[in-house]
């Protein structure tokens, strides 16, 4: 193999290492890079990296057991923060969609709806408290490191959720300003010109907010004590996620079941679109909640294991 071929093979191997799970990369990446620099792989060698990456994803428990408790706490925390942000955005959408008078009326008539709604709000409050206790010290540590190390990229990552929210707010304002007057229904021009860009903007903003904690935590140096405290608060976060998920599910199931009795009222809130949105909120909550619970269990396991 020529010098150019060596460099190409080494670069390809480095890229393929990106396919491995993060826990695996943290444990073996440096060694494998040293190996491929000394012994640049041919095409067959590169394919072993692809097969190895697939195997590492299919057997995560093996990688997990090899990582240190501190790394396990860091990875679990970034995962649970990501799940909580997804769940929070879900909850905000639910709150926004059910804030109108007809939903309040339905809640008064059917206590189950009111209980489910309150469960979502209580879970959101508990989750916010847990994030404040466990997450704010991490944010403070990141801010200090941004200042003491002069790490502009860390600062930018820290600011990215605020910047994304500001950009989304700006997009919302712009769309409200330029959107045509709408008297009844949702014409196609309104859906394509206003709703679609707003929803795409919202999705991108949510993606930035969900990924930012992971990238910040990967870049900063984290003390064991602050990691352990944050990991312990994930127990409360797990309870909060359970409450939000169950509340959304009960609400999404109970509202259609009450459709017949609500139909007699002139302010009946239930419609096909509402039912679909509520079902989507509940389904997303179950996915985020399940991943969050697994991450919480791992964080607690790492926090209580001897280091």
């Amino acid at each position: 193999m020529t010098g150019g071929g060596h460099r190409l093979a080494t670069r390809a191997a480095r890229l393929l290492l990106g396919l491995y799970p993060q826990a695996w990369r943290e444990r073996y990446r440096t060694e494998v890079v040293a190996l491929v620099e000394e012994d640049p792989p041919r095409l067959r060698g590169l394919t072993t990296l692809v097969v190895g990456a697939a195997d590492a994803h299919l057997r995560p428990a093996g990688n997990w057991s090899l990582t240190s408790p501190r790394t396990r706490m860091r990875l679990s925390l970034s995962a649970i923060f990501c799940c909580w942000i997804v769940l929070s955005l879900n909850g905000i959408g639910f709150q926004k969609d059910t804030e109108d008078t007809p939903f309040a009326t339905a809640g008064h008539r059917h206590p189950l709806l009111a209980i489910a709604h309150d469960a979502v709000l209580s879970g959101a409050l508990l989750g916010a408290l847990a994030i404040a206790v466990g997450g704010l010290p991490l944010v403070w540590q990141a801010l200090r490191q941004t200042y003491t190390r002069g790490d502009r990229r860390l600062g930018l990552l820290l600011l990215s959720p605020a910047l994304a929210l500001a950009a989304f707010g700006g997009l919302t304002w712009l769309l409200v300003t330029i959107s045509p007057a709408r008297h009844d229904g949702f014409p196609l021009s309104f859906v394509l010109g206003v709703q679609a860009p707003w929803r795409i903007g919202g999705f991108l903003c949510a993606a930035v907010c969900a990924l930012a904690p992971r990238l910040v935590m990967a870049r900063m140096e984290l003390g064991a004590a602050v990691l352990r405290r944050a990991s312990l608060t994930t127990a409360a976060l797990a309870v909060a996620m359970g409450a939000v998920t169950l509340g959304l599910t009960v609400y999404a199931c109970a509202l259609p079941l009450q459709a017949a009795s609500l139909a007699s009222e002139s302010t009946a809130p239930i419609g096909a679109g509402t039912g679909v949105m509520l079902a989507l909120y509940a389904a997303t909550a179950w996915i985020a909640g399940a991943f969050g619970l697994v991450a919480s269990r791992r964080a607690l396991g790492a926090a209580t294991s001897p280091s």
Binding site: E31, V32, V50, G52, A53, D55, A56, N63
Partner: protein, 109 residues
């Protein structure tokens, strides 16, 4: 102990080569690749080598030693040596039986 090697599935052959290499002393990845090639004629790709190493390490059959720069040497554990001995004994028994039968068949009646 043989079952622990069986648990390695498609990685059992590379794992056997890795354990055999480490039976001769502590080695890092590059040294293992060269030793295995000299010993068996098999050149292990980086994905295969580290797939086997991660499985052997998580099963406690090898031990990662402190890193030397970017390289990290590995050492076979007592459990790994025992698993290797058992596996090699089985292979040797199969090889001996097969060779004996071949020679018996090849011998003129």
């Amino acid at each position: 102990m043989a079952s622990r090697m069986d648990e390695l599935g498609r990685w059992s052959e590379p794992a056997l080569l890795v354990l055999s290499s480490l039976a001769g002393g502590d080695k890092h990845g590059y040294a293992m690749v060269n030793d295995i090639e000299a010993m068996s004629g098999v050149h292990l790709g980086p994905g295969t080598l580290y797939g086997a190493l991660s499985r052997l390490e998580s099963q406690g059959l090898i031990l990662a030693l402190p890193a030397e720069g970017r390289r990290r040497p590995y050492r076979i554990t007592a459990g790994g040596a025992s698993a290797l001995e058992e596996q090699l004994t089985t292979i040797a028994s199969v090889a001996n039986t097969g060779l004996t039968r071949l020679r018996t068949q090849a011998a003129p009646a």
